[in-house]
Amino acid sequence: MATTTAKSTYLKGIFDSSPFILVIIPFASLFGLVATEAGLSVVETLTFSIVVIAGAAQFTALQLMQEQAPTLVVIISSLAVNLRMAMYSAALTPYIGAAPLWQRALAAYLTVDQSYVVSVAEYERRPDMSIALRMVYFFGVVTPIVPLWYGFTFIGAYLGAWFPDGWALDFAIPITFLAMIAPMFRTLAHVVAALVAVAVSLLAAGIPYSLGLMVAGIVGMMAGAQAELWQERKRGRAE
């Protein structure tokens, strides 16, 4: 049997997240473009992406700043969009919590939707993976993502006004997220969690500062957990 080496694990991480290259490029370029159109310099735009690396929160901040919202509101709303990162952090903890602190700090900086989704899926598939290999895999996953996020923010900002209008790049985000979600519906509980979260998010769309998203996420997670318990009880009775 072939042994799993650090190198093959790293390469598998790169391979598994490579589909997201197609998404990161338009998404990062779009942020660069939108930011420069809002009056940011190329350096400011790039710094924004390097310091924050969170597309949705960056777009939120940019929009609110353009609307001249109070600074504190801009910060709190954008962080609310990023609250899901705390949930990703919690979800990653059982797998990588025992790694050295500097690796956890680096992984924390690099925790984005894609690295969380791809890594947790692999950790679930291979429960026997060592902590060291899990970290190697995680860093493999971010390799095709994070440098491109910086690079294409820069290119988008640099190209600025030459970017054609009407490309509907706004929809790159929903399509990516939907494509990422679809393979995750493994059990009835996953489907219940998603349906409840969608229903609540639509009902709560009027709650200001993206807080409706957090309410929907938490209610969805509770629905998923309850559905899982219900399925376990049903299975228990059948046996």
Binding site: L22, A86, M87, A105, F171, A197, L213
Partner: protein, 108 residues
């Protein structure tokens, strides 16, 4: 125009705040075991948050000023359907993009 002082305050605060959110569990909880009920909820983080994030954008896209639009709605449905059937992220993204641009072109 965005005020430069505001901009830098926002960038720095978001940088620190976002890092804190990402580090709060991996960093501070570390290798301590987390309770079953919490793990049971965390299993559903992504399938709850991401659909909740996307749903309003699909139904009321910002680009159209919040008007429900057939091309974007169809693209979202096709992406989800192809993703569910093929379990292939890239196939789902490409068919969604194809649907979006196809319908935007034909519907003008």
């Amino acid at each position: 125009m965005i005020d430069k002082t505001t901009l830098w305050i926002v960038i720095i605060a978001l940088g620190i705040g976002s890092f804190f959110l990402r580090f709060v569990f991996t960093g501070f909880v570390g290798s301590r075991a987390m309770p079953d009920w919490l793990l049971r909820h965390l299993r559903y983080t992504a399938v709850a948050i991401l659909p909740a994030l996307v749903a309003p954008q699909v139904i009321w896209p910002q680009a159209t000023g919040g008007e429900t639009e057939p091309a974007r709605l169809a693209a979202a449905c096709v992406t989800l359907l192809v993703g569910l059937l093929s379990k292939n992220v890239i196939a789902a993204i490409l068919s969604g993009a194809f649907t979006l641009y196809g319908l935007l072109y034909f519907l003008g």
